[in-house]
């Protein structure tokens, strides 16, 4: 489903974020990527929808070349890839519904979206998505009036509204408490299993990775250093990925 072919990314300034990464992800996979901050996790995720353009190599999603896609093709590819962010990225002053509807933008003409004349079907899809993350009743509440966990759920609903084939989650729970984090991870897992959406999640909490993961990918200094089932992973493997002993900040824990 997703193929990385010799991906390298060097930022202007000289920082080499990714170094010759080659990787294949099958349809329906639930993949968790772990690594230290700066190991390249975010960058890797962003090459999938070309928010970051690789300096070398190509990424293929569903056999389509993302890296060299034209503007038109890129729009279509992106509309099939949903993304959620560590900072939620909601439009604070807009209602929850409006935020989720931005997931449908690629399917609606510019004029209609500006005038706010959303077709009935799109609104239906938005409501369904909100229902899936159990936050339908907050549809007309302002984004900024929600808690962090609720905002992230809206983020998931927004991505779901795209009816995507792929779901990307960039450190989705880094700013959430343990209980809420697990709720969010649970939603992601459910969506993956019920709807068959290929899901890739960046995490830096090792216990969460073990709890929810199936396939685990480890990045260190932009290089792929681990690729295997989460059950086979040992503490030693983790230490290799992080290049140091495991610290308490790497574990989410259970306390509030």
């Amino acid at each position: 489903m997703i193929e990385f072919k010799n991906i390298s990314v060097t930022y202007p300034g000289g920082v080499k974020a990714l170094d010759n990464v080659t990787l294949n992800i099958d349809e329906g996979d639930f993949v968790i990527i772990v690594g230290m901050s700066g190991a390249g996790k975010s960058t890797l995720l962003r090459t999938i929808n070309n928010l970051v353009k690789p300096t070398d190599g190509e990424v293929f999603v569903d056999n389509k070349n993302v890296t060299n896609a034209s503007k038109k093709e890129l729009k279509i590819i992106r509309s099939e890839i949903g993304m959620i962010f560590q900072t939620f990225n909601l439009v604070n002053r807009s209602s929850v519904l409006k935020n989720v509807l931005t997931g449908r933008l690629s399917q609606v003409s510019t004029l209609r979206s500006i005038l706010g004349m959303w077709p009935k079907e799109d609104k239906e899809i938005a409501f369904e998505s909100l229902n899936k993350v159990e936050i339908l009743e907050k549809a007309y509440v302002r984004g900024s009036n929600l808690s962090g966990g609720q905002q992230q759920r809206v983020g998931i609903a927004r991505a779901l509204a795209q009816k995507p084939k792929v779901m990307l989650a960039d450190e989705p729970v880094a700013s959430l408490d343990p209980i809420t984090s697990r709720v969010v991870m649970k939603y992601l897992k459910e969506i993956n299993q019920e709807l068959g959406i290929t899901t890739i999640v960046n995490l830096h909490f090792l216990d969460l990775a073990k709890e929810f993961g199936e396939r685990l990918i480890g990045l260190k200094d932009g290089k792929l250093v681990y690729d295997g089932s989460v059950n086979d992973v040992s503490d030693e493997d983790f230490e290799n990925i992080y290049g140091r002993a495991i610290k308490s900040s790497d574990i989410l824990g259970d306390e509030d």
Partner: protein, 267 residues
């Protein structure tokens, strides 16, 4: 699935505002007898005017008349800003409700508001019979108005300071004057100074205009040229004025940026 309904308040507010804006525009436009087609023909007429200005009149005769006037506008703006800065500075402290008493500050603020309400041109107007035609009137008009605006802005800056340093000065036995000088002034100087410079930029435009009522500056030149239909010369006036404004703006903006970054003002 229990789909919630949109609360009425949100929709109501949006529609009310949109309607108000539409009614406002339509009422105004019809009152002024302005129809949309006039907007369509306007650009064409403007183009005719602009093309009549080229080639510009760059003769030495023209420059001899124009350049001194432009310089005069510059001086008026500068002197006016200086007056404004010098007088507004102490006044702003009186007007700040955290430095002076409440009643006194309120009165001062009201006075400043009244001064501010008079545009420079009206002030120049009023001063003309007293101070006569010429740049002095312009300077006073600009200066007085600046005292008003700078006074208000500066007092707001003073009111927004961090009380911490003031407390430490007071606790170490400093007098009120010490408090002011070492606690308040360093905090507010960068912002206030940048306001002075910004005021200078604005005053430059105002002083260019004051010539229209004979209060000195390049405005009189422009209106004369336009009246006599000497478009090339009018164009030159415009171009020279624009250039001066651009130069001053750029320099002033650069200085302001440095001040805010903390490099220039060392208090």
């Amino acid at each position: 699935m229990n789909t919630p309904k949109q609360p009425i308040n949100q929709k109501l507010l949006k529609y009310t505002i949109t309607i108000m804006i539409i009614i406002g525009s339509v009422w105004s436009a019809s009152g002024l007898q302005i129809t949309p087609d006039r907007f369509l023909t306007a650009p064409g007429k403007i183009w005719i005017l602009v093309s009549a200005m080229f080639p510009l009149d760059l003769s030495s005769e023209a420059m001899d008349r124009i350049v001194p006037k432009v310089a005069e506008s510059l001086f008026i703006a500068w002197a006016g800003t200086v007056i404004g800065a010098v007088f507004s500075f102490p006044v702003s402290f009186i007007a700040a409700n955290n430095v002076s008493q409440n009643s006194l500050s309120r009165v001062t603020k009201q006075i400043l508001n009244i001064i501010r309400a008079f545009p420079e041109l009206i002030l120049a107007f009023v001063l003309l019979p007293v101070t006569g035609l010429g740049p002095l009137t312009g300077t006073l008009a600009v200066g007085i108005h600046s005292i008003g605006t700078l006074g208000k802005l500066s007092s707001e800056v003073i009111e927004g300071i961090d009380e911490g340093p003031l407390e430490s000065i007071k606790s170490s036995g400093g007098s009120k004057i010490n408090e002011l000088f070492f606690g308040v002034v360093p905090q507010v100087m960068p912002t206030i100074t940048s306001y002075w410079l910004y005021r200078f930029e604005i005053n430059l435009r105002a002083s260019a205009v004051l010539g229209v009522v004979g209060a000195g500056g390049v405005g009189a030149e422009l209106i004369n040229q336009l009246r006599f239909r000497d478009f090339p010369r009018a164009g030159t006036v415009l171009v020279v004025t624009i250039m001066m404004v651009l130069i001053v703006d750029t320099i002033s903006a650069a200085i302001r940026r440095r001040i805010i970054k903390g490099r220039l003002i060392k208090v």
